[in-house]
C-alpha cells in the first residue's frame, strides 16, 4: 500500500478516479457505454474522443518539457495545420476524394515539421530560451493561419478527412485510435530506443550530458519537431471534427491545457524524468473536468477556474519550498509533542 502511494502515477490516477466518482454521483448512467449502429457511445467515449487533441499535443509537450523546454506555439501550429489541409482540400479539383485528403494531411504535417524545425533552430542553434523562442510563433502563427485561409472559415466536405475527427473504426472513434497509436509509438520509440534516456539526461544535467558526449543539439531539435508534428495532428483532428478550419479559434489555449496535462501527469517543469502514462492520465483528467463541470450544474466556461485551482495545487505539490514548509511545520509539531511528553 505504501509502495502504491509512492508510485508516481498514484496521485494523478487517484484524482482522475475521484473526478469520475463525482460524475457517477451526479449522473448514475455516466459509466454506461452502449452500442449503437456499430459505434460505441457514452460519456467515457466522448471524453476519450474530445480529449484526443489535447493528449496528442501533450505527448509532444512532455518530451519538450523533459529537456527543460516549453513549446508555446502548439496552438498556433494546430491552427496552421487545419488551415493548410482545409485550404488544400477546398482548392483541389477533387475535394471529396480520399487521395486529395491524404495529400492535404501530408502537406499539413510537412508544414508543421518545418515549423518544428524552425522552433528547434531558435532553441538549439541560436540558444534562445524556449519560452521566448516559441513565443514568436505563438504570436505570428494565427496570423499565418489566417493568411492561408484568407481570413475565412474554410469549410470542406470530404468524408475521409471528416473521419479523422468524427469517424469510427471498429466501433471506436478514429480520433481516439490515432491518439492511442501516437501514444504507443511515442512510448515505444522513447523507451525502446535511447531517445528517452538522452532526453532525460539533457533535461537533468545539460553540462554533464555534454561532457559525456551527448549531442544535445540533435536531441533538442528532435523534440521540437516531434512537438510540432503532434500539434499538427491535433490541429487536423480539430479541423476534421467540424470539417472547417477556423484560424482564430482552432486549438485556442490548447498549449496551456497540454502543459497542464503534462504537469498533472507528474513530469516536472524543471526537466528530467518524464512519464507518458502520466501525461495520458493528465489529459484525461482535464477532459473529464471539462465534462464534469456542466454535469454538476456549473456553467461550462468556469472550468478555467477549476483548472487554475489544479495548476496551483500541482505547483505547490511539486515546489520543494512549499513541501519543505509543510514538512517543517509537521516536524516542529512532532518535536513539540515529544517535548510535551518529556
Amino acid at each position: 500500500m505504501r509502495d502504491l502511494a509512492r508510485h508516481r502515477l498514484f496521485w494523478p490516477v487517484l484524482a482522475l478516479v475521484l473526478l469520475l466518482a463525482v460524475n457517477v454521483a451526479a449522473t448514475p448512467s455516466f459509466l454506461q457505454i452502449r452500442m449503437q449502429d456499430g459505434h460505441l457511445y457514452g460519456s467515457l467515449v466522448d471524453i476519450a474522443r474530445n480529449g484526443a487533441p489535447v493528449l496528442l499535443v501533450a505527448l509532444g509537450m512532455t518530451l519538450v518539457i523533459a529537456t527543460r523546454g516549453i513549446d508555446l506555439s502548439v496552438g498556433a501550429i494546430a491552427a496552421i495545420a487545419g488551415a493548410v489541409a482545409c485550404v488544400h482540400l477546398a482548392g483541389s479539383p477533387a475535394p471529396a476524394s480520399t487521395g486529395t485528403a491524404i495529400t492535404a494531411v501530408t502537406l499539413a504535417l510537412a508544414v508543421c515539421v518545418l515549423l518544428g524545425l524552425w522552433n528547434g533552430f531558435l532553441v538549439s542553434v541560436l540558444g534562445i530560451q524556449p519560452i521566448i523562442a516559441t513565443l514568436v510563433l505563438m504570436t505570428a502563427g494565427r496570423g499565418l493561419a489566417m493568411l492561408v485561409t484568407g481570413g475565412q472559415i474554410t469549410t470542406v466536405n470530404n468524408s475521409f478527412f471528416r473521419g479523422l475527427g468524427a469517424g469510427y473504426l471498429l466501433t471506436l472513434p478514429i480520433a481516439v485510435l490515432i491518439a492511442m497509436a501516437v501514444f504507443a509509438v511515442t512510448a515505444l520509440v522513447t523507451r525502446r530506443t535511447a531517445l528517452g534516456m538522452l532526453v532525460e539526461s539533457v533535461g537533468v544535467n545539460p553540462e554533464a550530458s555534454r561532457l559525456a558526449g551527448v549531442r544535445s543539439r540533435t536531441i533538442l531539435w528532435t523534440v521540437y519537431v516531434f512537438s510540432a508534428f503532434c500539434a499538427g495532428l491535433a490541429g487536423l483532428m480539430i479541423a476534421a471534427n467540424t470539417s472547417a478550419a477556423d484560424a482564430n479559434n482552432a486549438g485556442l489555449w490548447i498549449e496551456l491545457d497540454a502543459i497542464l496535462a503534462v504537469v498533472i501527469g507528474g513530469t516536472s517543469l524543471a526537466g528530467g524524468r518524464f512519464s507518458l502514462a502520466g501525461t495520458l492520465v493528465g489529459a484525461l483528467f482535464i477532459q473529464t473536468l471539462s465534462t464534469t463541470i456542466p454535469t454538476i450544474g456549473i456553467p461550462a466556461e468556469t472550468n478555467y477556474l477549476f483548472k487554475a485551482v489544479v495548476v496551483i495545487a500541482v505547483c505547490l505539490l511539486q515546489s520543494p519550498k512549499a513541501r519543505a514548509a509543510v514538512w517543517r511545520r509537521r516536524r516542529d509539531r512532532s518535536a513539540l509533542v515529544r517535548a510535551g511528553r518529556a
Binding site: G141, R142, G143, L256, I259, P299, Y304, C315
Partner: protein, 338 residues
Amino acid sequence: MSTVTRPEIATRSLADRVKGYSPPSQLLPVLATFALLVGMFGVGAVRYEGFASPQVVLNLFVDNAFLIVLAVGMTFVILTGGIDLSVGSVVALSTMIAAATLRAGWPPALAILAVLLTGTALGLAMGLVIHYFEVQPFIATLAGMFLARGLCYLISVKSIPIRDETFQSISAASITLPGELYVTPTVLIALAVVLAAAWVLHLTRFGRSVYAVGGSEASAVLMGLSVARVKVGVYAISGFCSSLGGLLFSLYMLSGYSLHAVGMELDAIAAVVIGGTLLTGGYGLVIGSLLGVLVLGTIQTFISFDGTLSSWWTRISIGALLLVFVVLQRFFNRREIS
C-alpha cells in the same frame, strides 16, 4: 566572464572618453525602436494620403491607452526577468467587475476601487507564490490567467453593457488641443502611468532594485537589497496596471465581457520586447515600452489605411518584429557573456 577585452578602458583618460562620446548603451535599443517608428511613419506618409497627420499620431495613443498601461506593468515584471501571462485575463476580469458592479448600482468610485483592488491583490498573490514557493513565473501567472478568466465566467457568461453615466461621459469626453486635435482622458491617464513608472524605476530604491534583481538576483541578495519586496512588488504592480488597463478598456468598449482582451498579454509582451527591454531582465526603459505600443499601433494604422492588406498581417508583422528583437537581444547577450 570576459578576460579578453581588458585594460584599454581602465586606462583611458577622461579626455579620451569625452571625445569618444556615444549615447549611453541603455538608450540604444530605445533609439532603435524610435527610429523604427519614425521610419514606419515615413513610409506611411509617402504611401498614404493623410497618414502623417498629427491626429493619426494622437489616435495611436487614444486607441492604445489601455495597452500602454499594460505594457508599463509588464515592463516591471520583465525587468526582473519574470513574465506575466495573466494580464489579458485580468483586463477581462476588470471589465466584468466594473460592468457588474455598476449594473448592481454601485457608485462609480467604489466600482473603480473594487477593480483596482482585485487586480492588485491577484498580482500580489502571484508574486507571493512565485517568490516564496519558487514556482516559475510562467506557470504561476498561467494559473492567474485561468483564475481570472474563470472568475469572469463566474460573474456572467454573457456580455454586460456599461450604462453608468459617469463612465459614459468619461468615455465620450475628449480634450481638444490647438489645431483641431483632440485626445481622450484615458490618454492622459496612460501617460501619467508612464511618467510615474519612469519616476519609480529611476529615482527610487525600489526601482533601482528592480534593475538589480534583473541583472543578477544572487548579487542583489548579497548586496543586501530586499529582493523579496521587489519580486513580489513587480507582480502587484503588474496586477494593478492590468486592472487599470482593464478600466480604460471598459471605457473604450463600454461593456464587460469574458472574451475581451484574449491574447492581449502577447501584445503587451511584444510591445515591451520591441521597446528594447531584455526578456532575461535587467535592461530596458519604460519609455521604450511606450514606443513599442506605438509601433504595434502604427502597424494597425498602416493596415487600416492600406485597405488591401488584411488584418492578419498585424499578427504576422508583430511576430516578425518580435523575432528580430529577440534574435538581436540574443546576440547582444552573447557579447555580454563571452
